[in-house]
Homo-oligomer: 330 residues x 4
Amino acid sequence: MNSFGRIFKVTIFGESHGESVGLNIDGCPAGLPLTVEDFLVDIERRKGGTQKGTTPRKEDDLPIFKSGVFNNKTTGAPLTILFENKNTRSGDYEKQRAVPRPGHADFVAHQKFGGNEDYRGGGHFSGRLTVALVAAGVIAKKLLGSATVTANILEIGGEKDLEKGLQNAIDHKDSIGGIVECRVNGLPAGLGEPFFDSAESLLSHAVFAIPAIRGIEFGTGFAAARMYGSEHNDAIEDMTGKTRTNHAGGIVGGITNGNEIVFRIAVKPTSSTPKDQQTLNWESGEIENFSVKGRHDLCIALRVPVVLEAVTAMVLADLLLLEQRIKRLI
Amino acid sequence: MNSFGRIFKVTIFGESHGESVGLNIDGCPAGLPLTVEDFLVDIERRKGGTQKGTTPRKEDDLPIFKSGVFNNKTTGAPLTILFENKNTRSGDYEKQRAVPRPGHADFVAHQKFGGNEDYRGGGHFSGRLTVALVAAGVIAKKLLGSATVTANILEIGGEKDLEKGLQNAIDHKDSIGGIVECRVNGLPAGLGEPFFDSAESLLSHAVFAIPAIRGIEFGTGFAAARMYGSEHNDAIEDMTGKTRTNHAGGIVGGITNGNEIVFRIAVKPTSSTPKDQQTLNWESGEIENFSVKGRHDLCIALRVPVVLEAVTAMVLADLLLLEQRIKRLI
Amino acid sequence: MNSFGRIFKVTIFGESHGESVGLNIDGCPAGLPLTVEDFLVDIERRKGGTQKGTTPRKEDDLPIFKSGVFNNKTTGAPLTILFENKNTRSGDYEKQRAVPRPGHADFVAHQKFGGNEDYRGGGHFSGRLTVALVAAGVIAKKLLGSATVTANILEIGGEKDLEKGLQNAIDHKDSIGGIVECRVNGLPAGLGEPFFDSAESLLSHAVFAIPAIRGIEFGTGFAAARMYGSEHNDAIEDMTGKTRTNHAGGIVGGITNGNEIVFRIAVKPTSSTPKDQQTLNWESGEIENFSVKGRHDLCIALRVPVVLEAVTAMVLADLLLLEQRIKRLI
Amino acid sequence: MNSFGRIFKVTIFGESHGESVGLNIDGCPAGLPLTVEDFLVDIERRKGGTQKGTTPRKEDDLPIFKSGVFNNKTTGAPLTILFENKNTRSGDYEKQRAVPRPGHADFVAHQKFGGNEDYRGGGHFSGRLTVALVAAGVIAKKLLGSATVTANILEIGGEKDLEKGLQNAIDHKDSIGGIVECRVNGLPAGLGEPFFDSAESLLSHAVFAIPAIRGIEFGTGFAAARMYGSEHNDAIEDMTGKTRTNHAGGIVGGITNGNEIVFRIAVKPTSSTPKDQQTLNWESGEIENFSVKGRHDLCIALRVPVVLEAVTAMVLADLLLLEQRIKRLI
């Protein structure tokens, strides 16, 4: 349930204020060069703290290899990586135990796990676990070879001028969301399957594993619902499958067609807003006023691009490993 | 790869112009009453042919139980259902073998399967296979008990007046897309998992198994990216988890929260448009003009609601079966 | 639950006295030549009827391709094959509904499926379903290329002279078991994984899917428990990994080592014996005398070799497809 | 590939001379009490060192909870446990890099992973990883409630007097194997599935994940192949399914029948024998004499019972969790 992938299978684990968060990858091919340094850029991109609107919480966030790496290469055995939680202040959360934070998983976690969940800072539901996704992405990107996965923020709070969108939120003393786009180039045609394991199915499955995502659209996306077929269809121009336009976003019939893969996702505003809110106190059964304590991002979308790249690379590396074997035996 | 579900596992198979299409369900509980009559309404809803804009092709489409049903009940053994293909006119397609239809899977199928694919009428990629999804949905809905899954068309070609949207397409001699919304009521809180098996992950995975879907959004969806956190957060109002608003669409932290589940999908315009188009002829290597032969829907979105309900019910029945066992042992 | 395989995934379905039994293979590579004729030899080997000790029930048992085959080749889409049940005499079983046959699954099926199971002739538990295993094996063997999988009966009722063993059973008016050995040649080293997906784990998993199997041993097997290490270890003789002896049966550390794979299985005596027996009548709650009606094999082991080859080939084809992709990407 | 289980899914990882070995359990129900103390007895049983014939290597082997445990209970989130490797002497192994040890996985690991494997002390193939299996077993046993899983050694080197068998090995300066039996009491009828997920399939799958196992037999096992049907069949005696005899070992048609589950396994002699042996040097291509360095068990079978109990409990806990949900929905 906390795993993803058929060949390159990633499991993530850990809690926001527990000892550590981490990941296990089962099925990573042997012989892939891998060092701590490989992770630094993407982990830094995820951290925030240097941008307006991101939380000042900092972790060293150096990956600790516990298994599967030997002499700076993957061994082919299961790979386990830990990130220690050093900078936790649980006291902030203890006192709010009976007050589920609006927009957070506190209420559903309590329902689902019968009160046994680690509730400190969101526990296992915390955005902290995205560091494990980013780490999986670092490895997955290596498996993609020369193919590139690049995500960028398109808008913040409805503004294409991102500084302006963020300043709006600061001025309103409120949190804000955004739109992030991902583009993949250099992959072969033929990845994905018709129906249940369509490339869109797998990509969206992985994307909605990122907290705070509310929508995804491929190629022209929702706008396609307002186009005529003759406008939307992409004319094939040559034997490589290159199309004149790319309304399909690089995926037709669930299968990559060799053109650029393009999709966009909607990130909701950070649930922890500086504004006062109301919520239930499940001990008293009363509605009460609620204000957020602790350190939080004004706009979680700012941290999303590197996480989006990571889950995208995970899906595509898995599909590439699967497709490798299809053509061989016969 | 053509299967979905952990407990209630559905496999679909078949080709548009082969002998039959069908499905296998492994993991359906024993003792569920099931007769041919149970399928008639939803299969009729999928058929089209009575509405403007849907194809005149008709199949009797009566389910044939090949295994897993005895004395009008499920036995607990794998359930296999066939739908025979009676009304096929392969000749329409044979002559276009070298000309991949724009917007269709012809090109990618050829790339992926090395020319071995059954290319007649889209073969395994055909929308014909959605009859198998609908059949799985009929059974899944039964497992949901009193919970309801209802999908409706919100707009056609950008028009909320659906007749008008369709008439636009007819007037333009072109195909058109639409937006479909799904609402689920009566399910308990607690379904889904954090991260990889979030309810949104599983629902979107299944939804993108439906041909022609280009986007999905939950609750407020893409609009959430333009809201402030204080607007978007849903205040919890009582001990059942009922929220004052439902911007989250009934899912928080990947888990259902007991409120109505709401999501919308974008359906692209039918790839087979009456308008002339251009595409590659992969034998000659030349671009040539192309016009669609055969029977086709002007607006495939008209057929989508019952299919959307089906895949939604499949996901939720599976989650319900999974959740059943969580609470029992301890 | 009724599926096996990670890439070459086989699902079997059907009941002894239902309409049909069959199988679905998801993940069979495209382009594999496949005709009805390919199945005839192995299906004939399974049938019995020509040998002393096997049941006179005969089915035409011609495979009917319902999906996934086009122009006499696999398409890469899910492959469905049916075998119709033509020669059923349900009346034999109806009257024994309340009397679970000793050694058969009648009692456990009733417990597990709450009385909803198809009880006629063992229903889904019937040995009839091994025809679906044999069919999967025909396809799997093709995927193994020049590698060979050969199973032979080593003894019947403790006798290496098989005719004599069988005659003993006939003379005693009783059923009898046997030992069957399987040998695989021509496979590369490197198939299987350490621990959970060891080659022995997967082979034994598949082997115990055959009804009536009570044990399996690899290489020297149980006798290894009585050897010294210096006797049991196989000295490696050359760079190909060829060993001087083959006590390991071709598998070390869960991985094939390139030598012949050898294992043996124990087949219990047919549960349906001509001898009178006692069992419970669950309506009366009384023990009563019981004698078998219908057509049955005296020695089911006679039919096992081709089924054993089939499940062995399934496992190894899957491992070969998996291993193909491991070496490629890097 | 390094995971097992459908609901209670266990992944093991680590290397003999790496930083640690460990496990991840995904799907453990929330609210199970769990402390370090719970592990001590079974880990002590596995250690050896106090018995004649077991290696003097000692580890503290205290489990370190890295995720999934909070306030001494499972949270329902993925559970990760590490065991640190403190007592490693890699130097023993470095010099033998080019000389694959007979009976060990050195050769196949090199073939499979292209020389990237961690070869020190067997790396990921080491028996050291069975500590992770034992830990999974501790948790699985808790899920079984009042049901008991007990494994015992039946013979050592062919001797039922175990001391004598071991002394034989010591006297011969050689290693030796053994037979271990496992018995399970207190489980309900109905666990397991017909065919691919038969209780025997799953148990044998898990059992062959233990290094050095060469065979498994259920109930009467191989001896069943020499019995008549009227002898082997177990007469059902009452409405609970209790049988007069238990030749079936508690499993019929792949399903538990409520009687005691009984099976035996063959453990080969420890590959690392004090006796001189021959093997290939793959650098020189020459056969050379070889003698074992380092610390090793004379009879690995002595450590197997607690590991066998562990994998057995894992399988049965998973089947119990699966079966829970079958009966509920309808």
